[in-house]
C-alpha cells in the first residue's frame, strides 16, 4: 500500500527518462520493431484477413474461377441458395449442433475422466496415455479404415460380435442414415477424448500440489477436492478446452468425408463448403456463401465465450 501511495510522487521525476529513450530509438531499432510488427501483421493479413474478406465479397458474386475479368454481382442469390434452396443446409446445421452437444457432453468429459484417472499413481499410466493418445496421431484416412473394420455391415467386428453379420438384421452402421451420425460421433469421440486427455494431463501437472494437500488437510474428500479446488485452478486449461471443443465440432469434416463424403445423413456445413469450393463441382459464389455462414455461426460462441472470459478476468 505504501508503495502505491508514494508512486505518483516517485513517477514525476522519472517520467522524462523513458520518453527520452523513446525518442532515442535508432534507425536500426525502428527497422527491427517495424519488421517484428510488420511481418506477423503481413502473415496475419495474407493468411486470415484477406481470404476472409475475399470470401465475403465472393459470396455476393458469380465467378467461374478462371479469368479475373469475369466477376459479376449476384446480390443475395448465393445466400438464397444456401439457406433456402439447398435441402442439405438445415440438416447440416442440425448435425453440427448434435456434434457440438455430443462432444461437450460425452467426448470432453471422457477426456477429462481419462486424464484424472491417469494422473493418479496407477501402474502403466504411460502405456495407457499412449494408447488413448494414439488416435490423435493417426491420419484420418486410417481412422476411417479402422472404423470401417468395426462398422462394416457384413464383415465388421460389431455385427459379428452381435451375431447379426450376414443376416437381414445386420445394422448398416455407416449406410443407415438413422444411425450413421452416431457411429461417426463415436469415432470422433475416440479421437477427441485422447486429445482432451493430453491437454488436461498437462493442466493437472500445472496445479500446485500444495493446494491439494491443503484441501485434504481441511477434510475435503476426493470429489470435493477435484471439483472445488483442482478444476477451478485449471481455469486457463478450461478456456482452451471449451474453445477447442467448439472449434472441433464446427470444423468437423474429415471423419464424415472419409466415411461417405458427408452425404446420406452425415451432412455438415463444412462438407457443403468443400462440395461447392473444391474440385469440378466448384461454384465459387455459393461455396463462399456457405463459408461465410459457417464463419458467422463459429463467431457467435467464440466471441461470447472469450468476451465473457476476459471480462471476468478484468
Amino acid at each position: 500500500m505504501t508503495d502505491q501511495l508514494s508512486f505518483p510522487a516517485a513517477r514525476a521525476p522519472r517520467s522524462p527518462v523513458p520518453r527520452r529513450r523513446l525518442r532515442q530509438l535508432s534507425r536500426r531499432d525502428k527497422v527491427v520493431l517495424g519488421l517484428m510488427i510488420g511481418i506477423p501483421t503481413l502473415i496475419q493479413a495474407v493468411l486470415v484477413w484477406i481470404p476472409t474478406l475475399a470470401s465475403f465479397l465472393l459470396s455476393f458474386m458469380k465467378w467461374d474461377g478462371l479469368s479475373l475479368t469475369s466477376f459479376q454481382w449476384n446480390g443475395l442469390t448465393n445466400y438464397n441458395f444456401a439457406l433456402n434452396q439447398s435441402p442439405q443446409f438445415w440438416p447440416a446445421v442440425l448435425h453440427n449442433v448434435v456434434w457440438l452437444l455430443f462432444l461437450a457432453v460425452v467426448g470432453t468429459p471422457l477426456g477429462l475422466l481419462l486424464a484424472v484417472l491417469l494422473d493418479g499413481k496407477i501402474r502403466g499410466s504411460r502405456v495407457y496415455q499412449s494408447i488413448f493418445f494414439m488416435p490423435v496421431m493417426l491420419s484420418v484416412a486410417l481412422i476411417g479404415i479402422i472404423w470401417q473394420l468395426m462398422y462394416s455391415q457384413d464383415n465388421g467386428l460389431i455385427n459379428n460380435v452381435l451375431g447379426t453379420a450376414g443376416t437381414s438384421r445386420a445394422v448398416d452402421w455407416f449406410g443407415d442414415s438413422s444411425v450413421n451420425l452416431w457411429a461417426a460421433l463415436i469415432a470422433a469421440t475416440w479421437r477427441h477424448a485422447g486429445y482432451i486427455m493430453i491437454l488436461y494431463l498437462a493442466g493437472l501437472k500445472g496445479v500446485d500440489p500444495s493446494i491439494k494437500e491443503a484441501a485434504s488437510l481441511d477434510g475435503a474428500n476426493g470429489r470435493q477436492t477435484f471439483f472445488q479446488i483442482v478444476f477451478p485452478a485449471m481455469a486457463a486449461t478450461n478456456v482452451i478446452i471449451v474453445v477447442i471443443t467448439i472449434i472441433e465440432s464446427l470444423r468437423a469434416f474429415d471423419i464424415v468425408y472419409v466415411i461417405n463424403r458427408g452425404t446420406n445423413g452425415l451432412e455438415l456445413i463444412s462438407v457443403l463448403v468443400v462440395q461447392y469450393l473444391v474440385g469440378e463441382t466448384q461454384v465459387i459464389g455459393i461455396g463462399s456463401a456457405f463459408a461465410i455462414v459457417l464463419l458467422v455461426i463459429s463467431l457467435v460462441p467464440i466471441v461470447f465465450y472469450l468476451s465473457r472470459t476476459f471480462r471476468t478476468k478484468e
Binding site: L66, F81, F174, D176, N260, T263, N264, Y276, G279, E280
Partner: protein
Amino acid sequence: MAVYGVELNRRNLLKGAGASAVGVGLAAVLASCSGSSGGGATGTGTGTFGSNASDPVPKKAYAALVSAYEKQSKNKITVNTSDHNSFQNKITNYLQGSPDDAFTWFAGYRMRYYAKKGLVGDISDVWDKIGDNYTSALKKASTGDDGKQYFVPNYNYPWGFFYRKSVWAEKGYEVPETFDALVTVAKKMQADGIIPIAFADKDGWPADGTFDYLNMRINGYQFHVDLCAHREGWDSSKVQDVFDTWKELLPYQDPSAAGLTWQEAAQKLGDKQAGMYLLGSFVTQQFTDPAALADIDFFPFPAVKVEGRDAVEAPIDGLMLSKKGASNQAAKDLLAFLGTGKGQEAYYAVDKSNIMTAKDADTSGYSAFTKKLGGVISDAKYISQFFDRDALPAMASNVLNPALLDFIKSGSIDLKNIESQAKTLYAQQ
C-alpha cells in the same frame, strides 16, 4: 502378353513407316527449334502426357500406347501419372497452371466447358486425318459448342444389365425385352429369395445410371441432353414420369444400396445373391475368378415406352491437348496415333475391359461377350455419357445425387426444389 506387345510394335513400325517419316520430319523441325537435341534426321520431338490412369492395368495400357507411339514416331513422350480422383478434382487448377501437353479426359459437358473457356487445344486438324475412322456419334461427342474438335476417343464401355448365365438358366429366367417383363422376372427372383437387382449408391453416382436409362427410354435421348443442359425443366410431368416408373422398380433393387459401393454390389452378383446388376461393363473387373467371369452375360436396358432401345449409355474416355500442348506436334501426333486402330490396339492389348472406338481397330481378338458389348454401342443411334459427365458437375454431385439417394430411401422426390437449385446453379456458369 509382352511378346504380343513387341510383335504389335514391330508391325506398327513397318506399317507406319510412311507416316513416321512425316512424323520424324516434323520432329526434326521441332528439335532444331528447341536446340536441345542432336538435330538432323535422328532428332526427336518431345512432349508430356498427364495420365489419370493410376490403377495398375490402365496404367500399363497407357504405357503400351505411349511406347508404341514412340517406336512409330521416334518422338519422346514423358508420362506423368496422377491419382484418378485427385486428377479429376484438380483439373481446373491443372489446366490453368502448367499442364502436360496431352492429358486423359472424358467426353461430355466437362470437355465442352473447358473448350468454351479456352483452356484446351483445338485439334480439328487431327480430326481431318482421323475423322473417317470414327462414327458420327463419336465425332459429335468429341466436338465442342463451337463446332471444333477437342477430344480423341480411346475406348468406351456400355451400361446395361449384367447377370450370371448359369443362375438364369437354372431358374428359368428369361432376358426381359420390356419394362413389364423386367418387373415380372424381378418378382420371380424375389419369390426365389434372390435380391432381384443388385444396387449400390454409397458413392452417389451409380443411381444416375437407372435415372438416365429410365429417362432416355421414356422421354428420349434428346430430352436427356436438354435436361442435362437445363434447357428442359425438372418440375415437368416428363421427369415426374421417370420417377413414377422408377417407383415400380424400387422394391426390386437392393434395399441396402445406400451403404454399398459398386464393388460390394458386384460381389453380390458374383456370389449369386443378386440376380442382375445395372452398371457399366467395368463391373467385370470385379470378377477375378475366370469361371465366374465366363458366366457373366449382358442385356441392354429394356424398352419402357415408345422410344425403344436406340440410346445407350456408353461413357467415352480419351485424350485431349492442353492449350500449351496444341502447339506441340509430338503431342498432337500422339492423339492422331490414338485415333488409329494401331494405337487403340496397343492400349487394348493390355486393358481388355473396354471397347475400342476406332473403326479400323482389329476386333478379331474380342470374346463373344465383348463383341456383344461392342455391338450394343455400334447399333445405338445415340450415345449418352452418363449424367455426371453430360451435366454440370455441381448439378450432378451436389443436387441430383443426394436427391436420388433420398428417393431410394423414401420413394419421394421434390422436383420443384431440384428445379430451383438447377436454375441458380446453371445461371452461374
